[in-house]
Amino acid sequence: MLIKGFLFLFIFQALGELLVRWFNLIIPGSVIGLLLLFIYLLFMPTPEPLQKVADGLVRSLSLFFLPAGVGLFFLPENILSQWPALLAAMVLGTAVALFICALILRWISRP
């Protein structure tokens, strides 16, 4: 069950990696794999093992980037010293983007 589900993901990712290298794309192969699997699922019912494995992976997505996230505290000094800019991007940048997008949405979806 588990192996069947992962096999689906690995094969679609491998196809994506192949296309990325073949056409010299600057997109991650996994994103192409995502698109290919999405298109496949538009025409085929989702196999049970794939559904199970995908549910599990998507639910624990954050586990897989935890090791890289820890790196925030071990950045080179010249990056760490720019923390006000990083904070501004994350808080101010996100707030402004939310506000602008909310206004645009209201405007384009009015009756």
Binding site: L9, P28, V58, L61, A85, A89, R106, I108
Partner: protein, 238 residues
Amino acid sequence: MSFDSAVDALFSSPLFNVTLTLLAFQVGLICYEKVGRKAWMHPVVMGTVIIVGFILLTPHEYPTYFKNNELLLFFLGPATVALAVPLRNELKTLRGIAVPALVIIALGSVIAPLTALGAAWLFGADEQVLVSLLAKSVTSPIAIGVTENLGGLVSLITAVTLFTGIAGALMGPTIFKIAGLTDDRLQGILLGVLAHGVGTARGFEISVRCGALAGLGMGLTGTFSAFMLPYLKIVLFG
């Protein structure tokens, strides 16, 4: 072999380092459930604190820790592909709002990096940091792949996307009120576009369809951004 060298050998094994990550994440998950799934207590926040604490308090070093966690990083790829499944399942919730949703996914994917870079630039960020901020609103597995390809700092983008998600999830509902955006379906899309996974979790607290649409917004934004950000980088940085 002395006890010290036995510990050294263990510290530099994938088994020990992956276990450390799993354990820290598990504790993070328990704390997250304890406080009622609040965005500021995301499992990664507590998990990071535990691992950073361990590295600082013991002779263990970050490069050794990171290198021996390659097994987990490998799963970022299949996990990205797996996003296709919820994307497919949630497609039907788009009915009736498809046009505004797709428009805001395309616009939001450009507005998010522009406002982030603008804010960081005002506070004097250098070019390497600015490039590393391009993918800040994109779901982490995709953001990591994109940032790697663009020549940004992977350790920076991981943390930045996470805290962007937390900030967006916390501020979202208040900003929707100020802007007068009342449709919970459109709120959901926006949470997914600008606050990815954390925003999606927040969306499910508002309503099921809000959460489902946030997941959809997250997936489509990630995919669209992977194609668009390389060009945005060329426009902004030549």
